[in-house]
Symmetry: C2
Subunit: 314 residues, 2 copies
């Protein structure tokens, strides 16, 4: 049997046909096209799903289930999507709507949770007892897998690790609180601090890398400058790692997963980030001589959304 | 069948005989008497257990299992206690030692975890899907129950919620990090801030309540003065609640339990604390219109240690 996995984003609907082992057999996509009625978006999701299945040489008979990762919260039991801020969705009866087009078992979950599941099935946390996935992107998404199952809590509002508070009365967050992890460890936070530091240190290498226009300072610019040893960028990078390490220590001391996986844009910094994070975390561990969570880079990249969504139905 | 529950503390060994429903049938105790060899402490634990069983009119034949809550971390599988700082224990082969005295199935876990289990079996979180228990005492202990089972993580070092970081570069903690929840939401933190505030505001009601000696300012003094409307004490109390609420929001946004239970010394402030915490948490919830964890006061008080330990074997 094969599975359809749909990664529903604010910009694109990415659809893939995925086999039992989490390998993508064929892919397709369509623009999400917000704002438009959810009924139209769901119709396009179904249409691209049918196309992808056919193009891969399969029929809908071969498809065991359809899974969808959404940039918001999802109620896996009712199939309702209570909140999807980027899409302006509120209490959308997603499963019912989708079933008007394709009558297959349909599973939904949060996009970071789905990425965590992908890494568990076919990535760096394969076969582990428990893992926590962090997407270091525009925001900071979190996914929790325990005993092979996504864990989003009793009311399905959990795994919002970007909105755990690491800095009392710290940076104001879009959620209304202050000091959320997302304000310190997302790509957005890295860019914000890099631009601030460049304004204070216009001699920084970041200036050359961004062509003198601070609007061009991306996470990559900041990290490339830090890798090259630029002191201003290194300072920004080290403070970024300091915040991320505080979040990771809280995860370890709270639910002690077997593995913590770093994904999203900032994780493309690779070993430069990984080694810095591991070094920052090590001296902060509570029980110094006990083993604790391995910290790893995500393996599947942007495909994790499709793979994990597909594997919801496995 | 009945169960023996042992609450192993830094001062006392408290032992109880407990029935299936989590009711204590009979109790006994002995001083822990640290520092002395762990073998002697375990021998006393076994001796008091036998006494309590006999005094209650039972025999060891009636006892299904023995459970122990320890003020440290425990490996429930091997029965080894890797760390118990208060007792100066390090890698103590606890189960093997206990079995030299009493040959019954023996279960061990962290004391806050055990209290969480007690509230799940016979207290305020009875029958819930998931609960997080916080002991607001000298330290801040945490216990997690998911689907009726204690959850301490993959390496058994989890549920140390007192050592999640809520204030980056904040108050130095005994664990070596800065800004741990324990530094803001334990009784010790409340007392520290109350004494500081009294030094700055000697006209505070706390002065009368402590007989003019700041060393007499306890958590109760601070809370009694806050209840009476003393502005200095109220300010201390409100900041305490602010820190605790940040920790609770992080718990909700991370693992979204059905219930969060407040126990330990500070929880004796009762509804005055509970209402303040609920009011502080409500506007901080991420998804404003979604249901989230109920916040409740612990019901079992100091007996939770014995009851929960006994119920480990159920």
């Amino acid at each position: 049997m094969v599975y359809v996995g749909i990664d529903l984003g604010g910009t694109n609907i990415a659809v893939g046909l995925v086999d039992e082992g989490g390998r993508i057999l064929h892919q397709g996509s369509a623009p999400t096209g917000i704002p438009r009625p959810y009924q139209d978006i769901v119709a396009d999701m179904a249409r691209v799903s049918r196309d992808v299945v056919a193009q891969a040489g399969y029929t809908m008979e071969d498809v065991k289930a359809v899974g969808v990762g959404v940039p918001g919260i999802a109620d896996p039991e009712t199939g309702v999507i209570p909140f999807c801020t980027n899409l302006h969705w509120h209490n959308v009866p997603f499963r019912d709507e989708f079933h008007k087009h394709i009558d297959k078992p349909l599973f939904i979950d949060n996009d970071a949770t789905v990425a965590a599941l992908a890494e568990y099935v076919a990535g760096v946390s394969a076969g582990t007892h428990s893992s926590v996935f962090l997407t270091l992107g525009t925001g900071l998404g979190g996914g929790i897998i325990i005993n092979g199952k996504p864990y989003s809590g009793y009311h399905h509002i959990g795994s919002e690790i970007g909105h755990t508070i690491i800095a009392l009365d710290g940076e104001p967050c879009t959620c209304g609180n202050d000091g959320c992890l997302e304000r310190y460890a997302s790509a957005t936070a890295l860019i914000r601090e890099a631009r601030k530091a460049y304004a204070e240190h216009p001699d920084s290498l970041m200036g050359r890398l961004c062509g003198g226009d601070p609007a061009n300072i991306s996470g990559k610019v900041a990290i490339d400058a830090a890798k090259a040893g630029d002191p201003t960028a290194l300072d920004v990078f080290n403070r970024y790692v300091h915040g991320l390490a505080a979040g990771i220590i809280s995860i370890i001391n709270f639910i002690d997963p077997q593995v913590i996986v770093l994904g999203g844009g900032v994780s493309l910094a690779g070993d430069f980030l990984l080694n810095a994070v591991r070094e920052a975390v090590r001296p902060m561990v509570f029980f110094k001589t006990m083993p604790y969570a391995g910290i790893q880079l995500a393996k599947l990249g942007p495909d994790a959304g499709i793979i994990g969504a597909a594997m919801l139905g496995k």
